[in-house]
Symmetry: D2
Amino acid sequence: MVIVIQCTDKVGLVATIAGLLQQKELNIVSMREHVDSIQNRFYARVEISKTIDATVLEAQLKGVLPLDAEVIVNPNPVKKIIVFATKEYHCLSDILIRNHFNTLGASVLCVVGNHSHLQDICRRFDMPFHLVSHEEITKEAFEEQLYRTISGYEVDYIILAKFMRILSPWFVEKYTLQIINIHHSFLPAFIGANPYKQAYERGVKLIGATAHFVTNNLDEGPIIAQQIIPVNHSYTTKDMVKAGKEIETAVLANALQLVFDDKVLVYQNKTVVFE
Amino acid sequence: MVIVIQCTDKVGLVATIAGLLQQKELNIVSMREHVDSIQNRFYARVEISKTIDATVLEAQLKGVLPLDAEVIVNPNPVKKIIVFATKEYHCLSDILIRNHFNTLGASVLCVVGNHSHLQDICRRFDMPFHLVSHEEITKEAFEEQLYRTISGYEVDYIILAKFMRILSPWFVEKYTLQIINIHHSFLPAFIGANPYKQAYERGVKLIGATAHFVTNNLDEGPIIAQQIIPVNHSYTTKDMVKAGKEIETAVLANALQLVFDDKVLVYQNKTVVFE
Amino acid sequence: MVIVIQCTDKVGLVATIAGLLQQKELNIVSMREHVDSIQNRFYARVEISKTIDATVLEAQLKGVLPLDAEVIVNPNPVKKIIVFATKEYHCLSDILIRNHFNTLGASVLCVVGNHSHLQDICRRFDMPFHLVSHEEITKEAFEEQLYRTISGYEVDYIILAKFMRILSPWFVEKYTLQIINIHHSFLPAFIGANPYKQAYERGVKLIGATAHFVTNNLDEGPIIAQQIIPVNHSYTTKDMVKAGKEIETAVLANALQLVFDDKVLVYQNKTVVFE
Amino acid sequence: MVIVIQCTDKVGLVATIAGLLQQKELNIVSMREHVDSIQNRFYARVEISKTIDATVLEAQLKGVLPLDAEVIVNPNPVKKIIVFATKEYHCLSDILIRNHFNTLGASVLCVVGNHSHLQDICRRFDMPFHLVSHEEITKEAFEEQLYRTISGYEVDYIILAKFMRILSPWFVEKYTLQIINIHHSFLPAFIGANPYKQAYERGVKLIGATAHFVTNNLDEGPIIAQQIIPVNHSYTTKDMVKAGKEIETAVLANALQLVFDDKVLVYQNKTVVFE
């Protein structure tokens, strides 16, 4: 069972938390604590060996911690997620396979696509697929339809698995810190259209990818995980796109595992990742 | 200030430690705790923001923890080390440079060599160099002379920076868990003479290195850090030796930093590394 | 179009090859050449920009090269493969996904399993699955049945995607240098049963995987690719198995891409990989 | 002996080169060829086993190759270099150590510093150190003094080993493609002052470094090598600076080895690296 806590820092927080757990005869199997002294912020993740009533423990912890404490006890061990995708198969397929064999650490409720390209792969896994086209309607109408499509689901996270539309602030705010995106980010970062072409022209020796929470500035939210893959002069733009897909798949899988294991705490624009 | 603790596990240890620190108005900046449930062993590393009397705090912690608790408070922030080397310069030079610019996290007291090859580089850094030749004497006499050479120093760690002699149990026991070795270990591991020639003949695509504490089975002690470097078909045995030196230097530097920062706890044949 | 050549080395081989290509007005887009001076062996891989009659060019090259030259011109750009698997899904699923979206660089003809566990995932991709049980029959009978099952297919490579049976020499010889295996290999390598348990007990900080051609000594054939993944003290044996699966999937995918792109040349027990 | 060639591409270049070498009974030990089909540019690197008169062979190759061909035969096997540095020791020390033990693949002629901080470490290696202060003089006067200081040396490369001054175009043009810089570049790249502070605030999980040739846009020249090092939430800005130094040292060492081994060809703003 996992306990995740963040609040304003002060002396004695670990003692307070550990004292309460001791009273309840709960053994701490693993504990990670971090204080960001610039933000004066306390972060902790505690694993205990027994499973007890989460609501009660959560209330008890809130009772002894500072008023601004965010306490999550035993978050759904299997998270419920929805995946948004467009045409590219690589990230979605990896998620579908892990979901199918129960190793994702989450359960995929459905997939939403703004094109029909990925409908077939979903069908093969008996996964509900909702086609919500952005064509011939306004962005607002598109997002309202997106929202109507998923609002009936009780969802922990929305995964943008190469979803090639930028979501409006009103949509993002409906799911604060619940939307995770995978972004092709390069060294040096290339802004604007066709980043792989820019990377090719610059002659970079590494390309990378970044998984992050979506906030109102797309590609600017708190970073969960980043990795790179080496490339060289023999790579065409097309080869770089291909290598980029491999690293996007790997980084998103890694980030999702961290999030689903409740190892990622977010405050303002940064994450604390208790790997 | 750092506190490092290990003992038999039981419910309430974190509460006990954190409670004592709270009483003393000490704020925990960072805490890592791990319980090995198979060994039933508790490991913790705590960083606190203030600097207080270490001896008093250590005694107080021992007073409230289980009898078998090993508690180290504020270990010498700058460790004192002696380096043993033979002919190869790469690991020793890296240590000498970092020592010279005060970024090693330790202070090198002297270097001991069983050949004179590295005397000159030590002289350039005003570093005492003791030549203790193993030639024309028995192993026992050699090691006794080694021991006499260093026994006058108050030393925290002895670093075998490519020291090509195997130390006898009696010597190792004088410095239990204080001797750190860097070992060329391959994938798959090659035993016996000339491992790089074997690696070349096997056509491996990776070579690696392992930094570990020395116990009575050389190359079998608790592992601190391991890394690899890719190689390919164009590497001759000589090229592999060269690549091996690069990775040996990097792994040893990494392992020493972890040890000198008191991030490595050892129990039986394994380490807990709170990176 | 790709040309792959290996033969005994002698002066003038590149001139001979390039001269013939020039006569035919073929431009060399990329050329990799390597001489193993210990084996006195010449290896080359040439990419040319035009597509011409492979049989004619192959005969012409053989006509001007040493008698022992192995020349392959324009090997099937899409290789035909059969996958053998047992119960673990990770490597097979990755292959099935890439095959389904035509990015594998090969076409999967069928899957053979000695258990029925992976029949369902194959069915979902309309992939023929042949169940050949090893139970209640001799090893010889099992392998004869395996052979009968696949002998009707014209196959370039057999991929052992976590196939947990050791194939007999007679079977391996039927498919010389056509069988590729993925092996969990550790640092240091652990022999015998339960390598992950051994790795856990040894406290390694890295685990690895090796993709190799199968020869009569299983796990001893020419290595194609190797990679590692870091682990730490918090990993249980089960966590190591999980991390091992991630790296096995990645290494096998990488090795297959190299083989399918005709970038891997084999001679005796080693590979030349023109990445 | 190494031959490096680049020119406009056309059919038959490999045959022309290899034919000439065959006539001279020279065996090609290793050959890398690459055609950039967008630039229509041919690049080759050939290693031959014998050592012969470089001037003669160079002239002969130029005689048979296109007029724009750049041919370098047997470039000084030991390159002559000058190192520019400011206050940071890490890159310079690594170069001095390798130079001292004759494993750099180049010979350091002298070090030029615009501060006196690194004079002592040079003295310890009997390395000439020229102090050229930029203080209290114009940039132009500073660079003229720099130029006067080094113009007497016959130099192959100038290494900016954390030299914190931007060189003017006139200076850079004196040493076209002979100046190599190591740059802290991040993911995403941070422009302007204090990149590590920006990286800290952005909460990146990787920091990187780039070694590149200096052209008139500092930090924009052809990239030779790039690598990254993982960081996490526990890194302060100071820790990031420290990690950055480790990766800067490693990337520069790697890039220099590639350049000194004549494995890096440059055309316009990109490199071909025949690793």
